[in-house]
Amino acid sequence: MARLASYLRAGLRLAVLLGVTALMAAPSFEAAAGVELPKLEKGKGEKCVEDTAFMRRNHMELLKHHRNETLRQGIRTTKHSLKACVECHASGKTGSVASSKEDFCVACHSYAGAKPDCWDCHATKPGKHSVRQAAQPAVSPLMPSSGGRQ
């Protein structure tokens, strides 16, 4: 059954991929050649969690991987968390990564012609609980932290 499913999936993915490639051919980087590169606001931290060039190409894969781990397995590391991205890259002006055209995510995505739907559900501004802080949880009197394996 599982194998059948994977064949089916593979086949469908191929079909979808072909369709999407055909559709997406237009707004590629080449097409945008002549357009000025987006000017991105510098993040708050010293440097990004990965090399900038690597992030530019692969941030979506990292985020996708992380989101599945967090949601489905409850793994709450912060290195590749979307919340951490937002905390560093929220604009000084708008306080958001996606509320104006110059904001970090939007600026680049509109240049690249990408339309991710992250902001349908996710907040575009940092929250009260800092991610960095959450990485070393404060010891709660009721639920003492084991701080490691059980």
């Binding site: 089916l8 999936r9 469908l12 979808v16």
Partner: protein, 405 residues
């Protein structure tokens, strides 16, 4: 130019053809308008809510999907059971099945909360979900019936029509079983939660599908100024009567069983006695208009030559109306009845626990639902015009058979 388009038509009524096409197109456009509006503003514009989660779009969608499976019946009787009269109607039957399924699926997809994730629905399957199995059955139905149509219409592949016909037959039985089970497998709600849902949907699909076939067939004959052979007419009429009778029988058994279970009394009281709109739609729509009246019409004795007394259009048309009524009672009525969480208790909350849930379908639901009918209608009009779907009866054989049947 236009002359070449009319292959089957005795006379080429191009103007009227385009008028029909425009009508169908307009209805489809309405559905698309509703879709884009909902996509932007959300389902807040509809009458559907957290209590009635499936509304009018689902009534039309499930009806069309169930009818699609039933419309294939005519072809199956031809290929699987070898009846010549039905064999010559197989292509029309297959085409209608595809058009109906396309219409139903369109509504189902356009009503999703995240229609943009259709790819997810088609690539990620939870095999424990009967809904996921339905997606496989629907997609497979297109492929198998499409193949079946090719074997029926291509002279060289004709020999394959029997095995492929068998496959289509079993496939569509599975499809309707699975569709009925979408409701049958809902353990928590009084109106569903019954193994009877699957066979009941199968038998109802026979009735609805055949009814739609007969309406389309009558329209095609009238359009071309032809008259359907009396023998063919009688056979289909009797078959429809059997299916309508069987649907009524299943309805009776379903409710009788519930009436026997004390825990189901409240639900039965709701549907049969004091459920307001749902009680009315059940008795007037499903039972009288969709069952009793068609049966009377179909069995009414009449003189052989009286053309005006043929109910080959009216009776099946009423069956279709009754079918939509049945879906409304099953789908919306089943949700309107309060979910029983604490048996023997009166329940009250801010989330509408313990009350009969109100449902007022809005314009967007109507547009979506009717859009499905529009898709089916448009596809049928075009297909009938462009391809050779007019049943090709061999009248000499018919004459000869009539004496033996």
């Amino acid at each position: 130019m236009a002359q070449q388009l009319c292959i089957n038509q005795g006379e080429c009524r191009t103007g009227q053809f385009f008028a029909l096409l425009a009508l169908g197109g307009l209805v489809v456009l309405g559905a698309l308008f509703a879709f884009f509006t909902l996509e932007h503003h959300g389902h807040i514009l509809t009458g559907m809510n957290n209590q009635i989660v499936w509304g009018l779009p689902h009534v039309f969608a499930v009806f069309l999907i169930v009818a699609a499976s039933g419309a294939l019946n005519v072809a199956s009787i031809g290929s699987v059971f070898g009846k010549q009269v039905y064999k010559s109607r197989a292509p029309l039957s297959g085409m209608l099945a595809l058009a109906l399924l396309a219409g139903g699926l369109a509504v189902l997809v356009l009503d999703l909360g995240r229609p943009d994730r259709l790819v997810v629905a088609m690539t990620q399957y939870n095999f424990k979900s009967i809904f996921a199995w339905n997606m496989i059955f629907y997609n497979g139905f297109f492929a198998i019936v499409g193949l079946y149509l090719i074997t029926l219409m291509d002279r060289k592949l004709k020999a394959w029509s029997k095995p492929v016909g068998y496959m289509a037959f079993f496939w569509r039985l599975s499809l309707t079983t699975a569709t009925g089970s979408i409701f049958g497998f809902l353990v928590a709600r009084a109106g569903y939660n019954s193994a009877l849902m699957a066979p009941m949907f199968v038998i109802m699909s026979f009735a609805y599908g055949l009814a739609i076939f007969m309406v389309v067939q009558s329209s095609m004959y009238r359009w071309n100024g032809l008259r359907l052979d009396e023998g063919v007419r009688r056979r289909m009429k009797n078959l429809l009567a059997v299916f309508v009778g069987a649907s009524l029988y299943f309805t009776i058994v379903f409710h009788l069983t519930n009436l026997y279970f004390a825990k189901q009394w409240e639900f039965e009281r709701f549907i049969l006695l004091d459920g307001g709109i749902y009680t009315k739609v059940f008795w007037v729509g499903q039972v009288v208009i969709g069952g009793i009246v068609p049966l009377i019409l179909l069995f009414m004795p009449r003189s052989k030559d009286a053309q005006s007394m043929c109910f080959c259009f009216l009776a099946p048309f009423l069956v279709i109306l009754g079918g939509v009524a049945q879906m409304y009672v099953t789908i919306v009525g089943g949700q309107a009845f309060p979910l029983v969480m604490f048996p023997g208790h009166e329940v009250q909350s801010s989330f509408y626990d313990g009350v009969v849930n109100a449902y007022h379908p809005g314009i967007y639901e109507w547009l979506l639902g009717l859009g499905g009918v529009g898709v089916t209608f448009t596809l049928t009009v075009v297909a009938v015009r462009v391809f050779k779907f007019m049943p090709q009866d061999d009248f000499q054989t018919l004459q000869a058979r009539r004496s033996t049947d």
